[in-house]
C-alpha cells in the first residue's frame, strides 16, 4: 500500500468540491481513460475576477482524486493571475506530499487548471491541445510538457520524469529522447530542434522574428492547435500566405459556410496567432 499522508487520505475519502459548474467561466480537461487518469475542472469568477467556485470530476487513483480536491480548495478565492502561478508542487505540498511515483497526479491538476484558464480566455478548446512535439507516444506527453515539469521540479532522471509526467512509463521507447531533453536542460540550452522551436525561443527572449520564422510558428500553430480544434467540429483550415503582419487563410469543411466563422476567426484563430507571434497580427479569410 502506498504511503499516503493523512491529508491525502482525508481528501480522497472526503473530496471537496466534486461536480461540475453549470455555465462555468472556464473548463479544462486533461488525461484520458486509457492513461488511467482524467480530470475535468470547471470554475466560475465573481465580478472582481476571483474564482468563487471551482469543481472537479476525476477518474483516477486516490492521489488523483485528492490532488483534484486540493486544487479546487487552493484556487478558490484567487484571481486568475494568482491561480496561474500555482505549480504542481503547491498541490503536493498542500496534501503534505505525494509518493514520488504519484507526482504526476499533481501535474495533472496543474495542467487542468491551465487548460481551464486557457478556455476562459478563449485560447483553446476545453480539452487541452498540447504544445510541442509528442515524445512519449504511450502517454501522449510532449517535449514542452517534459521541459516545463522537469524545470519546475528540478528533475534529473528519466525515472523522475516518468513519476511526474508518466512519459516513459510504457514501452520505454522514448527514454532516449527524455534523456536528451534532460541533458539539454542541464547544459543550459534547450537545443531547439525545429525551425518553429528556434523561432519560439527567439520570441521568448523578446527578439524580433524574421518573416520566415513567423511562418514557421504559424504553420506549427495551425497544425498542432488550430486545425485539430476545427476538425473536432468538422471544419478545417489552410494557410495560404503571410505578408508582414497579415496572415491569409482559407476555411474549409464545416467552417466554410458556418455563420460563426467570423467569430472563430477573430476569437480563436487570430487570438491564438497573436498570442504566439505578435499582437499586431491580423488574420484574413480568403474565400475560394
Amino acid at each position: 500500500m502506498w504511503n499516503y499522508t493523512e491529508k491525502v487520505i482525508e481528501h480522497f475519502i472526503h473530496p471537496r468540491n466534486v461536480g461540475e459548474i453549470e455555465n462555468p467561466d472556464g473548463v479544462g480537461e486533461v488525461g484520458s481513460l486509457a492513461c488511467g487518469d482524467m480530470l475535468r475542472l470547471s470554475f466560475k469568477l465573481d465580478d472582481e475576477g476571483r474564482i468563487v467556485d471551482a469543481r472537479f470530476k476525476t477518474f483516477g487513483c486516490a492521489s488523483a482524486i485528492a490532488s483534484s480536491s486540493a486544487l479546487t480548495e487552493i484556487i478558490r478565492g484567487k484571481t486568475l493571475e494568482e491561480a496561474e502561478r500555482i505549480t504542481n508542487r503547491d498541490i503536493a505540498e498542500y496534501l503534505g506530499g505525494l509518493p514520488e511515483e504519484k507526482m504526476h497526479c499533481s501535474v495533472m491538476g496543474r495542467e487542468a487548471l491551465e487548460a481551464a484558464i486557457a478556455n476562459y480566455r478563449g485560447e483553446g478548446a476545453e480539452t487541452r491541445t498540447l504544445e510541442g512535439t509528442v515524445v512519449c507516444k504511450c502517454y501522449g506527453v510532449t517535449d514542452e510538457q517534459i521541459r516545463k515539469v522537469a524545470r519546475e521540479n528540478r528533475l534529473t532522471t528519466v525515472e523522475e520524469v516518468t513519476n511526474y509526467t508518466k512519459a516513459g512509463g510504457g514501452c520505454g521507447l522514448c527514454h532516449e529522447r527524455i534523456q536528451e531533453i534532460l541533458d539539454e536542460i542541464r547544459n543550459g540550452k534547450t537545443a531547439p530542434t525545429t525551425p518553429a522551436q528556434v523561432a519560439q525561443e527567439k520570441k521568448a527572449k523578446g527578439l524580433a522574428l524574421t518573416n520566415i520564422e513567423k511562418i514557421h510558428i504559424i504553420e506549427q500553430l495551425i497544425s498542432e492547435r488550430i486545425r485539430p480544434a476545427l476538425r473536432q467540429d468538422g471544419g478545417d483550415i489552410d494557410l495560404l500566405d503571410v505578408d508582414q503582419n497579415v496572415v491569409y487563410v482559407r476555411l474549409k469543411g464545416a467552417c466554410e459556410n458556418c455563420p460563426s466563422a467570423n467569430y472563430t476567426m477573430r476569437q480563436f484563430i487570430e487570438k491564438e496567432i497573436q498570442r504566439e507571434v505578435s499582437p499586431s497580427i491580423r488574420v484574413e479569410e480568403v474565400r475560394a
Partner: protein, 384 residues
C-alpha cells in the same frame, strides 16, 4: 474490526495446524539436520517426512523428486536455468504473455542475453492457443514454461494437453503451479511435466519456503552451490521449521481440498453474482469455465482500481487490483493487456481470491459495501 481477507492469491494465512507443527523446530528441535549427532539427525527425519508429504500431494513418483527451495520464484528460476544448462546448444524458450513475473522477467533477462523467447498470446478470456504452442516449438527449443493457473484471473491452462504436446515434440515442460496446489487435483504420474514449482505461503504455510518437483531422469543443474543438502541440488542449511510447515500444509491441502474447493467456489460464485446483480457495468475477466475455484477478477467500468481498494480497505476488506496505480507501474497488469481487456476496464479491475478460512459473512460484507463504493466513485468520475 476484523479484517476480511480476500487476497489469498497474494498470500494466505498460516494454518494454525501448520504453526503447531513448526513450533518444536523453533523451540526445541533446532539442530542442524546435516549434523551427525542425534540432535541434528532427528530434524533430518522430519524434513524427509515433509518431503514425502509434498511428494504425495503432487502425485510424484517418490520424495526424491522434491527439492525444497526458498519460494516459488526460486523454484521457477531453478527449473528454467537448469533446463537451459541441460541443453546448452538450444536457444529457444517458449512461455506465455501472462506468466508470473518470476518467469516473465527471467525470460526477458535471458532474452537480453541472446535467448530467443516466444511469448504465447492468450485470447480475450485468457485462454492459450495450443496450436500456437505446437507451432512455436522447434529443434532449438530448450524448454516450455507455462503456468498451470493464472494468479490474476484464476484461468486454468490445460496442462495435460500442454504436457502431451511437449512430450510429442520431445521438449521438457516446466509449470508454475503456485496457484494450483490445493485448488485443483494434481497427479504428476499422469502428467508428463518435467519441473513443477510450488510455494508455501499460497497454501497456508509460511513465506520463505517453496518446493520444486523434478521428474526422475530430468537433468538438473543446481543454482545454489555449496554443501550437499538436497542431494546436491540446492545447497544451504535447510529451513527446517518452514519445511515441516510446508509438509503439514500439503497434508492439510490433501485432506481438505475437495471440501475447501466446494466451499470456496460456492462463496466465490455468490460474491460474483451478488456484485453483478447489484452493480451495473461489471465484467468478469477470464474464462469462467476453466477457473480456479477461489478466484474472480472483475472489471468495473469508469472507476479506477486503487481507489476501489482503498475504499474497501476503509471497511477492512482486503482485495487486490490489476490497476496500474496500485502497483506503481503506469500500465494496467500485463495479464489484462494480454487479454486485450479495454484499458478503462483494466484500470478498474479488482481480484477477490478466497481461502478455506473465508465465510459467508466475508462475502456479505463485500456485497454490502461494494455497490456504494462504486456508486460513489462513479459520481466522482467524469466518464461515468
Amino acid at each position: 474490526m476484523k479484517a476480511i481477507y480476500l487476497d489469498n492469491n497474494a498470500t494466505t494465512r498460516v494454518a494454525p495446524e501448520v504453526i503447531d507443527a513448526m513450533l518444536p523446530f523453533l523451540r526445541e528441535m533446532w539442530g542442524n539436520p546435516s549434523s551427525m549427532h542425534t540432535f541434528g539427525g532427528q530434524v533430518g527425519r522430519h524434513i524427509e517426512r515433509a518431503r514425502e508429504q509434498v511428494a504425495l500431494t503432487l502425485g510424484a513418483a517418490g520424495p526424491d523428486e522434491i527439492v525444497f527451495t526458498s519460494c516459488g520464484t526460486e523454484s521457477d528460476n531453478a527449473a528454467i536455468m537448469s533446463a537451459l544448462a541441460a541443453a546448452p546448444d538450444k536457444k529457444r524458450i517458449v512461455t506465455t504473455k501472462v506468466e508470473h513475473p518470476a518467469v516473465l522477467n527471467l525470460a526477458r533477462h535471458l532474452e537480453g542475453r541472446g535467448m530467443d523467447v516466444v511469448y504465447l498470446p492468450v485470447d480475450s478470456q485468457g485462454r492459450l492457443d495450443l496450436d500456437a504452442l505446437r507451432d512455436s516449438i522447434d529443434d532449438q527449443t530448450a524448454l516450455v514454461s507455462v503456468m498451470w493457473a493464472n494468479n490474476e484471473t484464476g484461468v486454468v491452462f490445460p496442462i495435460e494437453e500442454i504436457a502431451a504436446i511437449c512430450s510429442d515434440r520431445g521438449v521438457v515442460l516446466h509449470t508454475d503451479a503456485v496457484q494450483t496446489i490445493g485448488k485443483l487435483p494434481c497427479d504428476l504420474r499422469e502428467t508428463p511435466v518435467a519441473y513443477l514449482s510450488m510455494s508455501g505461503h499460497k497454501i497456508h504455510a509460511p513465506k520463505g519456503i517453496g518446493a520444486l518437483y523434478i521428474r526422475r531422469g530430468t537433468k538438473f543443474s543446481p543454482m545454489i552451490i555449496g554443501g550437499h543438502q538436497e542431494r546436491g541440488r540446492r545447497a544451504g542449511t535447510e529451513n527446517a521449521a518452514s519445511i515441516v510447515g510446508l509438509g503439514k500444509a500439503c497434508e492439510l491441502a490433501m485432506a481438505h481440498w475437495k471440501e475447501d474447493c466446494r466451499q470456496m467456489a460456492a462463496l466465490r460464485d455468490r460474491l460474483e453474482k451478488g456484485l453483478i446483480d447489484s452493480i451495473p457495468r461489471v465484467h468478469i475477466h477470464g474464462d469462467t469455465g476453466h477457473r480456479l475455484p477461489n478466484t474472480t477478477n472483475l472489471g468495473f467500468e469508469s472507476v479506477e482500481g486503487e481507489a476501489i481498494l482503498l475504499l474497501l480497505n476503509e471497511h477492512n476488506i482486503c482485495a487486490s487490483s490489476g490497476s496500474a496505480c496500485a502497483s506503481g507501474s503506469l500500465d494496467p497488469s500485463h495479464v489484462m493487456i494480454a487479454m486485450g481487456v479495454p484499458f478503462e476496464r483494466a484500470h478498474g479491475s479488482i481480484r477477490f481470491s478466497l481461502s478455506r478460512y473465508n465465510t459467508e459473512d466475508d462475502v456479505d460484507a463485500v456485497l454490502t459495501h461494494m455497490p456504494g463504493i462504486i456508486k460513489r466513485l462513479r459520481e466522482l468520475s467524469p466518464v461515468a
